[in-house]
Structure formats: C-alpha cells, structure tokens
C-alpha cells in the first residue's frame, strides 16, 4: 500500500490531488529528510527499480547509502560524495548517473533535489525528481564518438588541413600540420603583420611567398577556389613541395562562412618530376649535341621533329616549307635533297614507309648556305605493342669528308696504278700527245726555216739542207713514239697470271661503284658460274673494263630515264666473252671508233678504245662493238679460256 510506503497524508483531498499530480508526471519524484533518508519515492520509480523504498535507505549503523545497490558502481562514489556534500551544505543537488532497472539493465537518469527549510533556515526536507535521460545520453555519446572520430580523421589524414576566417585569419591547423610546422596557429605572431601574413612569412619559401599571397588574396577577395604549389618549411628548416587547395564554405545567403584548406606533401613527386625532367633534358641534350643530324617523322613520313643540329644544318624550321595542297614530306624533300638524288630518295623512302623496312641511303643534302654535302641517312620505324608503326626515327651522318677522302684515295690509287703500269688511258693519251707533239713542233719550225733559206736571195742551200735533215730526223722520232706505244702493250706478257675472271670483274665493280651511284647508273652484272680461268695482266684488263664501263656511263649521261649498264660474262666455246652494254643513243660507226684519235666526245683524245683494242689483242683476244637491242651500244671482248692450269 502506498500509504504504508509513503508518509504523505492521503486523507487530505488537496494532498491527494497533489500526490496524483506528482505520480502521474513523467519521471520519478522523491523526498528525503535532512539526514538523506527517503521519505517518499514515487511508485513508478520503485516499480522501475524493483525495490521497496526502505531498501533505498541506509540501515542503522552503516556508512554507505541503501540505494548503492541500484546506482551503477562506476557512478556511485561520485553521486554519493555529491549527496553528502549537499546534505551537509544545502547546496542544490544535481547529478547524472545510471540506475539499475529491475531486469538488471542500467539506464541514465538525471537526478535533481532542492532542500526545504523552516523559519530558522534549517533543512526540513529534500524534494527531488529523477528523469530518464538515456536517449539523450546515448545521442551525446554518439555525438562525442563522431566528433572524436572526426577529429581523429582530421588529425590522421596524411594531409595538412587548415581553416581561415572569411577575412583570411588562420584559425585551425590539423595535428599533422602542427607537427610538420612545429607550431600551431596561436604560436605564429609577427608584429606589424596580419596573422595570414605572419603565417606566410614564417612557413612559405621566400621565392613562393609573394605569388602565394597574391593568389590567396585574390581568392579571399573573389571567393574563387585557391590552388597552387609552393614550398613549405618543415620544423627542421627543410622546405617541402606542397600542393594546396582551399574552398569557401557558404551559408544559405551565399556569404562565406569559412575557408577550408587542404595541402599535401608532393615533395617526392616534384623531386621525381624534376628527376624526370632532368633526365629528359639530359636525353634532349644528348640528342642535340650528338654529332649527327636527327629527325622524327610520322608514320606517313611527315617530318615532326628535328634536332637542333639538323635545323641549323638545313637553316629552316619544320613547317617553313609547307605549301598548300602539298604534303610536308614532299615539299621538304624538294628543298633539301640534291636534284640528282631526289628520285632515288623518294623511291627508297617511299618504299620504306610503305613496307616498314629500315631505310639507308647515301645522298647529298642541301645545307643552309646552298652547299650540298654527302650524308648517310638511316631511318627505322618505332612500333607500339601491337607492332603498328607509330613513328620513324632517323639519323643523317655527314660523310662528306669521308666521301671526298675516299674519292681522293681512289684517285691516288688510280694514279699509282697508272704510274706503275703506264696504262692510265687519259694520262697515257696526254703523254702520247706530248711525245708526238714535241717532234711535230720542231718539224714545223724547221720546215719554215728551210722554206726561208730556200726563198732567200740568194738561196742558202747549205742551211736548207741542214734543216731538211733535221726534219727527217724529227719525223722519224715521232714515228718512234708511236711504235714505242705499241711496244708498251706487247712487252708485258710477264705480268700475266692465270686468274679467276669473276674476281677481276668484282674488283672493277667495286672501284666503280661510287662513281656509278653518283652518276645514277645501275650496274646490272651477270657472271656465269663455272667460268674457266683466264691468263691476263690484271691491271691492263681492268683498265679495259673501266674504260668500256665509263664509255657506257658517258653515253647515258643525257638520259633522264633509268640508266642501266649491263655487264654479262659467259663462256662461248674456248673463249670467255664479256659484253658491256648501255642504253644510250647508240653508235654510228662501230669500226671507225677503234681508230686512234677518233672521238665524239668534247674532251677526249680518242685513244681509249684504240688502246683497249690493243690490250685485248695483245692478250690474243678480240674487241668489237655492236648495236645493243633495242637501243644503245654493246662492246664485246673475248679472252682465251685456260682450260687447265
């Protein structure tokens, strides 16, 4: 019965009404005497706790409160201390703690009590309420947990977070930032500077500070997001590259409430980029300083890069020769390739571009000053993982010096050969001319003198006779020269050796390869297998070959179409037959041209073919000319085959 358990007078209607109000209110109500012993506990509370009121009071002779059993052990000491204090002092009692429900579950409550006093001010009674705040408490805890997590997040993210007021005053650095800088927002203070200026001055690299300040000021003024890279000073004084961004937080009205900033350490990235740039620079420098002319072209051959050396060599840029309606490759080749080499370059380069085969060609390249230099160009395709050509990379090596040196060397070799064998045709012709000319000059002068002595009045017969004798002498001497030349080609049978003829041809071909390339003559050589050896003076027969091949090249000089010189060697009965044919304009007088001093050339002594025939005949062979089919001339010579050695 409640009357038994509570000391309130229920007979009084007003009191009964008051009790009803108290007991029907949410929450628990209680009263206690000045000693702290409960005089009333609302039934709902007792029901909640599953205890009788007296269970809550302190038994006689015990120190601890009876409600110890229902208050959470972790809260008890605190709550008890407070209650004792309030009982003693009369201070308002106000505390939060957990109470054990009848089923053993603890719930949070807020407990408040006020003392009532008599006219002398003595505490007569305590009145209090106990209201469940479990949900509130849980919400608070959850909030605290979230805040803690958030704060942990803020401190743990591997970035610097910071906050500014709309005016730009720094108000927060996260923990990492504080650790990095070695100071917190509050630590940075510079007399005469705004807080922001002070921060910038203290921690931003002096080279970056002005631009950083300017960018930040602009963002603060306009509300535009801020983003830049700068170097930030670490506590140990080392600057690190940072990538920083900040954006404003706005309220409903669009006013900026705060700036949130984030910056993260990109030092390693920047250093790696620098390293990459440095290695790129090194590579570029390597390319630019290599003593070679380098270029790159698109898969279709369009030039897309030139090394500095090549640009300087050519004297114009990639697109300087661009013409409307004409591919850059064509206009570039027209501008830089020697006209005589252009067709070959176009054909070969086109072939490489079409097939992907590497390209290599020696040709002349026009330098900025108009001089053509011999270069060797090589290009190879660069392919992607699928094997598709993505680019052509090429190099031109200046081989002008080499080519000229080789030409010099060859000239020197030829001179040497001539000197030792006296068989160099041009010089031989000149020397024959000189040998014949000297006696002729004397004969002419003597003839004039003779004529004069005879024409004198009176005629000086004595002197005329003397001069006539000299004329006879000198004329014989001229005839001697001619027979000496004949002898020259007959005497050297000792020098003959049995030689595989194909090696003689191969040597000759090598000797003339460059000249043929320069004169754009394709040498088409066909040597039958199993040729019998021949007994020849190697140098003389080579001179015959060289002379006949050059004749053929000369004959095709005026051709604009392809120049082909065909050399065919095969055995016919007991001779080795060599045919040298060109596709020039052909010959009018096949026999006459073997006569000495017959020439159709502007600069020629007309001795070449005569001497060739004399050499071949001295080898017991024959040399003659025929018309080539369908056009041009064919020179044929035979040498007796040596069947057995």
């Amino acid at each position: 019965m409640s009357a038994a358990s509570n000391s309130l007078d229920q007979t009084n209607p007003e009191a009964a009404r008051a009790l009803q109000i108290v007991e029907s209110m949410p929450g628990f109500a209680w009263s206690a005497n000045a000693a702290g012993q409960f005089t009333y506990v609302s039934p709902s509370a007792l029901a909640f706790l599953g205890n009788a009121r007296d269970d809550l009071n302190t038994p006689e002779g015990e120190d601890e409160f009876g409600w110890r059993r229902v208050v959470h052990p972790d809260d008890y000491d605190r709550v008890a201390a407070r209650w004792r204090h309030c009982l003693k002092t009369g201070d308002h009692y106000d505390t939060e703690h957990r109470l054990r429900r009848a089923d053993g579950v603890y719930r949070w409550f807020r407990n408040s009590g006020r003392p009532a006093r008599d006219s002398q001010g003595r505490i007569t009674e305590w009145y209090g309420t106990t209201i469940e705040i479990e949900e509130q408490k849980q919400a608070e805890t959850a909030l605290r947990d979230r805040e803690r997590e958030l704060s942990q997040l803020v401190d743990m993210v591997p970035s610097h977070l910071w906050r500014l007021t709309p005016e730009g005053r720094p108000i927060f650095f996260n923990k990492r930032m504080v650790e990095f800088l070695g100071m917190d927002v509050a630590d940075i203070d510079r007399p005469g500077m705004s807080p922001l200026e002070a921060v910038i001055d203290s921690v931003i690299h002096p080279d970056d500070a002005p631009s950083m300040k300017a960018a930040l000021d602009r963002s603060l003024a306009t509300g535009e997001p801020f983003a830049m890279r700068y170097r930030l000073r670490r506590a140990d004084g080392v600057y690190h590259w940072m990538s920083s961004r900040a954006e404003p937080l706005r309220d409903h009205a669009g006013r900026i409430v705060q700036w949130y900033g984030l910056c993260h350490d990109i030092d390693e990235q920047v250093k790696a980029e620098e390293g990459l740039r440095e290695s790129e620079r090194m590579l570029r420098q390597l390319i630019e300083t290599l003593p070679a002319l380098l270029y790159c072209a698109a898969p279709d051959g369009k030039p897309i890069y030139r090394s500095r050396q090549l640009s300087e060599f050519l004297g114009f840029g990639l697109d300087d020769k661009d013409e409307a309606g004409k591919p850059r490759l064509a206009s570039t080749l027209d501008a830089i390739i020697h006209p005589d080499d252009l067709a070959t370059v176009q054909e070969r380069y086109g072939h490489s571009l079409a097939t992907g085969e590497p390209y290599a060609l020696k040709h002349r390249l026009r330098r900025f000053d108009g001089e053509y230099r011999w270069v060797e160009t090589r290009a190879a395709p660069m392919r992607d993982a699928d094997g598709t050509i993505v680019q052509w990379n090429g190099v031109c090596l200046d081989i002008d010096g080499e080519v000229r040196a080789r030409q010099e060397l060859q000239f020197a070799q030829e001179r040497l050969t001539r000197a030792s064998q006296a068989a160099g045709l041009a010089e031989l012709s000149a020397s024959i001319a000189h040998e014949v000319n000297q006696p002729l000059a004397a004969i002419v002068a003597n003839s004039h003198a003779c004529h004069r002595w005879l024409s004198a009045e009176p005629a000086n017969i004595e002197r005329a006779k003397i001069t006539a004798e000299r004329i006879i002498r000198d004329a014989n001497s001229a005839a001697d020269v001619v027979s000496r030349i004949r002898a020259l080609f007959k005497q050297s049978t000792d020098a003959r050796t049995v030689t595989p003829f194909d090696s003689v041809i191969a040597e000759t071909r090598e000797l003339l390869a460059d000249e043929a390339a320069q004169r754009r003559v394709r040498m088409d050589i066909d040597i039958a297998a199993d040729l019998p050896p021949v007994a020849v003076d190697r140098v003389q027969i080579q001179q015959v070959l060289i002379n006949l091949i050059r004749n053929g090249m000369d004959a095709m000089d005026s051709l604009t179409s392809e120049r082909v010189l065909r050399l065919r060697v095969h055995q016919a009965d007991d001779v080795v037959r060599t045919e040298i044919s060109d596709i020039g304009p052909g010959i009018e007088l096949p026999e006459k041209m073997f006569e000495p001093f017959f020439t159709t050339k502007e600069h020629g002594m007309g001795m070449g073919l005569a001497i060739c025939r004399s050499i071949v005949e001295s080898h017991d062979g024959r040399l003659w000319a025929e018309r080539n089919d369908p056009c041009g001339a064919m020179f044929i010579f035979t040498l007796p085959a040596r069947v057995s050695v």
């Binding site: 000189h434 000297q438 000059a441 000086n460 002197r463 000198d474």
Partner: protein, 230 residues
Amino acid sequence: MWRDVHLHVASKGKRMMTADQIVFIVDDDARLREALGELLASHGMQAVTFASAGDYMAADKPDVPACLILDVELPDINGFDLQGQIAQSDHPPIIFLTGHGDIPSSVRAIKHGAVDFLTKPVNETDIMAAINAAIDHDRDIRSRRAELGVLRQRYRDLTPREREVLPLVVSGLLNKQAAAELGISEVTLQIHRRNVMQKMKAASLADLVRIAGQLEIPITYSRRPKGSRV
C-alpha cells in the same frame, strides 16, 4: 755557265754577234730549241737558248732590246714560276710557248704581264709577229726607262733647297705664296726657281710639271686658301 746555251747566228756570224736585238728561248726540248733558233736565224735574228729556267737566270745577258720565248713545262721550275721570279726586275717581254695550252693558264700568263701565249706547233707568221711586237715593246720600255734615268740624275743634282722649291712650283703656287711657305724672300725664290728649270732642262713650267709627274713627285700644296680645301 754557258753549258747547253747556244748562240744561233746568221752565216756571217761576226757581224751578227753584235746584233742590236736578241731573242732568248727557254725550252727543255733540244730539237725545238734548235729548230726555233734556226727559224730566227733564217730571219736574220740572233737567238740564245737555255734548257732550264736556272740556266736562263744564271746567264749574263747583253743589254739590248730583247724578248723571252718561254715553255711552260721545264725541268726545274715551270715557266709561270720563272715569270713570277723575274716580275720585279727589268726583264724582256715574255712570249709563252707550250705543248698543251688551255684557257686558264693563258689567262694567268697574260694577267701576269706576258705579251703572248702560243701553242706548239707554232707557225712562222704567228711567232715572228709576236717576237717583233715584243722586241718593239721592249725597245719602248727601255727608252722610257733611260729617259727616266736621266731625269732622276738631274733631280739628284738639285740642291736640297731646290728640291723643296720644285713641288711648290709645280703645285701652281704663286712665287709669293711659295716664298712664304719656305720663309724666304720672293727674289730668292725666283733664283731657285730659275735654277730648277735650268738643271731639270725644262723648257717651260708645263714641261717641269710633266717631268715632276714622271718622277712621281707628290704635289702636296694647294693654291687655294686653306679654308676652301675640298
């Protein structure tokens, strides 16, 4: 020194040895030397032949109008080099005669002062015309050289003061101006001037000006007032 140097003279030798003109021939071919000498002899001209440039350089040459027929190909130095070596001294006009003449070498020879460039074999008309022209040319040079020698001697005979007066007079300065220039009286200047005219054998002032030109006496004074100098 006269080894391999031959004199070609007409039959009545002694008279011709004292000929008043001479043709030098340098050619390494003995037959041609002989034949050219014979041809010249048939024209009554004296020739002296040499087999090399060195022989020609070493020889004593009579001081008479002459010309030099020079082959390009010589055993020691070639004809062009010999031409270069003698270019600075008084030498007879050169006719080149070569077995293989080409345009560049003929241009080079003429540019360096040769009077002709002929090729072997050469016909009589061409070589004789060239020789006669060359000798005439040499005679002309010699007479001018001689006249200049006389003038130089006369100039050397002037007193130092007269040599100062000469350029002032030929510059066209008035006696008064010339006297002032030298700081002497006009009368004294007139005496010097008369002596200069006499010693230089100048018939007139115009003649003296011509002589000064030949002697290449610089005209350093102007009659114009200094302010109007151009």
